[in-house]
Subunit: 411 residues, 2 copies
C-alpha cells in the first residue's frame, strides 16, 4: 500500500502566494470592472535588458543550426556564465571563489528549496521571522520540524524575531542550532544586516559548527556603501556559509529563470563515521542526479548582463524600481503609516494602522482601493501587524496606488 | 553541529554519465588527435525544429517589450502549453486528462527524480534492471533503500530483471511492492512492454494498492502500431499510474529543457489517519513550493511542436534518428553482435562479445575505435555484459562508427 509523505500534512493549506492569487481571482470574478494594481507578489514588470534580448536571439539562432546546436550542457552551468559570475561578483571584489564552487540553476526558489536535502533530518534549523516562506515549508516537507502549533509556530524550529523593536536585526539564538537561514536584503522587511551583525552570525556559526544559508537574491538593490553584497565579505564566512543569488530581480528574470548557488569546499558537515564531508560534493551529486542544467538560451541571456552595456542596463532597471520604492515609502509616511525598507531592497514593509491584522489589511486594500499587497503574517508569526508592498510595479501604477492610499483610506 | 544527509554516502562514487565524461576526458587529454564519435550519453545532435526557433524568437521579442513582458508564470505551466499537450497527447487519443492534472517542468530528469518526495520513506520500490539510474539514486538519497551490497544490489529494493532471457519484459514481483518504476520505451534496452504486459502491471498495482511511475520520455519513437504510447491507454491505469513525458528526445530539447508530469486525481495514497490523499495535490504543493515554472520562452518553443507544421518537423527529426538506429542495429548484426531495441526507441542494446564485462567493452571501444558508448552495468547489475549505443548522432558519424566496429574490431 503506497503511503504519502506525511510531513506534507503538517503544512498550511496552500503556499502564501497561491492563497493571495485565489483571493484576488475571487474578487475580480465578483468585480470584473475593478482596476486592480498589484504590488503583492514580488514580480517585476519591466522588460528584460536589451543585451539579454540580443543574446537570447543569437542563442535561439544557434539552436536552429546543426553546427552550433547545443544539447545537454554541464548540469552545473556553462563555463562562460560561471566565469562571468565569478569575475564580476567575486574575484573583482576581492573574494576568492573557485569555478567548481558555483552552481547555475533555474532560480533561487529551487535552490533554497532543495538545499536542505543534503543535510541530515536531525539538524535544528533557525529562520528569521518573518521571512520568505520557502525555507520553512521545505523543511516541514522534509520532516525537519514538528507539527504546526496553535500560535502559528512549528515545533522544533528556532524562530529569530525580526521586528521594528530590534531594528529587524535578530539576536543570536540562545540555544544551539545547526542551520541558519538569513535573507539579506531581507524579504519581506526590505532591511539589511550590518557588517557587524553579519560578523556576529559568522562567528556564531563557527563556534557552533553550524551552516549559514545566505540568500542574497536582492543584493543588486543595495545602495548604501557599507552593506555587504556577499556574505563572503565577512572574514571566516567561507568556512560556514552557502550563498544564493538570482537573476530574477537583478535583471527581470522571474519568467526567464536563472540563479546560482555558491558552496565553498571549506563548508563541511559531519558524516556518519565522524568524518567531515564537503557540502559542495553533496550538492554536486544532487545537482547532477536531479537536474539537467538551465536552458542554454537562458544562460546566454544571463551572461549578457556582465558586459559593460549589460551592467549599465541592469543599473537602470534597478534604479527604476528603487525610485518606485522611494515613492511608496515617502507616500506611506506622508499618509501617517510607519514604513521600513525600500533603501537597500525593493520591498516596503509597513506597520498596519491601529494594529490591524495583516489579512484584514489585505482585504481592506483589495476591496477599498483595489491594491494587492502581501500580508506580513504570511511570512511568519512576527509578520502579524505588518504588510509588504513591492516596488516592482510600473511607475504610473505605483504613483496611482500611493495616491489611492493617501486619499481614499482613512484610519 | 551540522550533519549531512547520510544516505548520500550509500551512493556509488559518481553519477554514471559523469564517470563516462571523466574517462573520455582523460583519454582525450592523452590522445588529443583522437577522432572520437559519441554514441554514449543519450544526447541529440540535430537542431531544434524550425517552428520552435520561430516561436522562441517571437517569445524573446515579447520579453523585450513592457506590453508583452512575462514575469512569473503559473508554476504548473502556461495554459497554452497545457492545453496543447492535453489535446494532442490525450484527448485526441481518447484519454480523458484534466488540465490541472498536467504539470509542466524543466524536464523528466527533474520530475522522475523529485516525484519520490511525495511518498513516505516506508514504501518499497521496484525498478526494472537495467534502467535509467535516476530512479534508484534518488530513492537512495531519500533513505528508501539500505546499503549497496557487494553484488551491486541495494538492500530493500525489489529488482525486476529484464534481459534477453525474458525478452526484456520483467515478471511481476513475487513480493509486495508499493512503487513501481517502468520506463517504456525502455532506457537503456530500447525495448517496449506489450499491451498485455502493461495490463498485467496495472492489475498488479490495483491489487497491491501500489503506484506505477511510468516514464514515457521516448514515446515519440514508437513505430509499431500496437505498442501503447501512454499508460492511460490501459484500462484502470488512471487509478494507479503517474506518467512522465519529455520534449528532450521528441523535439531535441535536451539543452532547452521542458517536460511534464501527468497525475490523475484518482491516484491516491494512504495518509497518517488512514485517509486517502491525492498524489496530485501533494505534487502541486511541491511544484508550487520548490519550483517557479519553466521559462516562458521555452514553453512557447514547446507549444510550437503541436501545430501541424510542428508535428511534421518532429516526425522528420524522429525518422532521422530512427534511420540511424536501423544502421547501427543492422551493422552490429552484420558484425556478428547480438543487438536489441532500435525499433520503438532510439537505443540499441547489444550483448558484449564473449561475455566481456561492460566497462571493459567501454574501454575497448574508446581506445581501439574511439567510440563512446554506455556500459550496460551502469544501468543495473542485470546490464552487465550489455552495452548501449544511441542513435542520436548525426548520420555521417553513425555510419563511420558502424564501419569502425565492423572493420577494426575482431572478437
Amino acid at each position: 500500500m503506497a503511503t504519502i509523505n506525511q510531513n506534507y500534512q503538517k503544512l498550511a493549506g496552500s503556499y502564501l502566494f497561491v492563497e493571495i492569487a485565489r483571493r484576488v481571482a475571487a474578487y475580480k470574478e465578483a468585480h470584473p470592472e475593478a482596476d486592480i494594481i498589484r504590488l503583492g507578489i514580488g514580480d517585476v514588470t519591466q522588460p528584460l535588458p536589451q543585451v539579454c534580448i540580443e543574446a537570447m536571439h543569437k542563442a535561439v539562432d544557434e539552436m536552429g543550426k546543426a553546427e552550433t546546436f547545443r544539447g545537454y550542457g554541464p548540469e552545473q552551468g556553462y563555463e562562460f556564465l560561471i566565469e562571468a559570475i565569478r569575475k564580476h561578483n567575486y574575484t573583482d571584489r576581492g573574494i576568492d571563489i573557485a569555478s567548481d564552487e558555483i552552481f547555475v540553476s533555474d532560480g533561487s526558489k529551487s535552490d533554497t528549496g532543495n538545499i536542505q536535502e543534503i543535510f541530515g533530518t536531525d539538524n535544528r534549523i533557525a529562520i528569521t521571522d518573518p521571512v520568505y516562506p520557502v525555507y520553512l515549508d521545505t523543511n516541514v516537507m522534509a520532516g525537519r520540524t514538528g507539527e504546526k502549533q496553535d500560535n502559528g509556530y512549528y515545533a522544533g524550529v528556532t524562530y529569530l524575531p525580526s521586528t521594528a523593536a530590534n531594528h529587524f536585526s535578530p539576536s543570536l539564538p540562545t540555544e544551539h542550532v545547526d542551520i541558519i537561514y538569513l535573507c539579506c536584503p531581507n524579504n519581506p522587511t526590505g532591511t539589511t544586516l550590518s557588517r557587524e551583525a553579519l560578523t556576529a552570525w559568522v562567528n556564531y556559526a563557527k563556534k557552533e559548527d553550524a551552516v549559514i544559508l545566505f540568500d542574497a537574491a536582492y543584493a543588486a538593490y543595495i545602495t548604501e556603501p557599507d552593506v555587504p553584497r556577499s556574505i563572503y565579505e565577512i572574514p571566516g564566512a567561507k568556512d560556514v556559509a552557502i550563498e544564493f543569488r538570482s537573476f530574477s530581480k537583478t535583471a527581470g528574470f522571474t519568467g526567464t529563470r536563472c540563479g546560482y548557488t555558491v558552496i565553498p569546499k571549506t563548508v563541511t558537515g559531519k558524516g556518519k563515521d565522524g568524518s567531515r564531508v564537503k557540502f559542495r560534493d553533496l550538492w554536486n551529486r544532487r545537482h547532477t542526479t536531479k537536474f539537467n542544467g538551465t536552458a542554454y538560451i537562458v544562460q546566454r541571456g544571463a551572461e549578457a548582463i556582465y558586459t559593460e552595456k549589460g551592467q549599465r542596463q541592469v543599473k537602470e532597471l534597478v534604479s527604476y524600481y528603487m525610485e518606485n520604492a522611494r515613492i511608496i515609502r515617502e507616500g506611506l509616511q506622508a499618509a501617517g503609516i510607519k514604513a521600513y525598507g525600500g533603501v537597500n531592497a525593493p520591498y516596503i514593509w509597513l506597520q498596519t494602522p491601529n494594529n490591524m491584522p495583516s489579512w484584514d489589511f489585505f482585504d481592506l486594500l483589495l476591496t477599498k482601493v483595489n491594491i494587492v499587497g502581501t500580508p506580513g503574517v504570511g511570512f511568519g508569526p512576527c509578520g502579524e501587524g505588518y504588510f509588504r508592498l513591492t516596488s516592482f510595479g510600473d511607475r504610473e501604477n505605483t504613483k496611482r496606488a500611493v495616491e489611492r492610499i493617501k486619499n481614499q483610506l482613512k484610519f
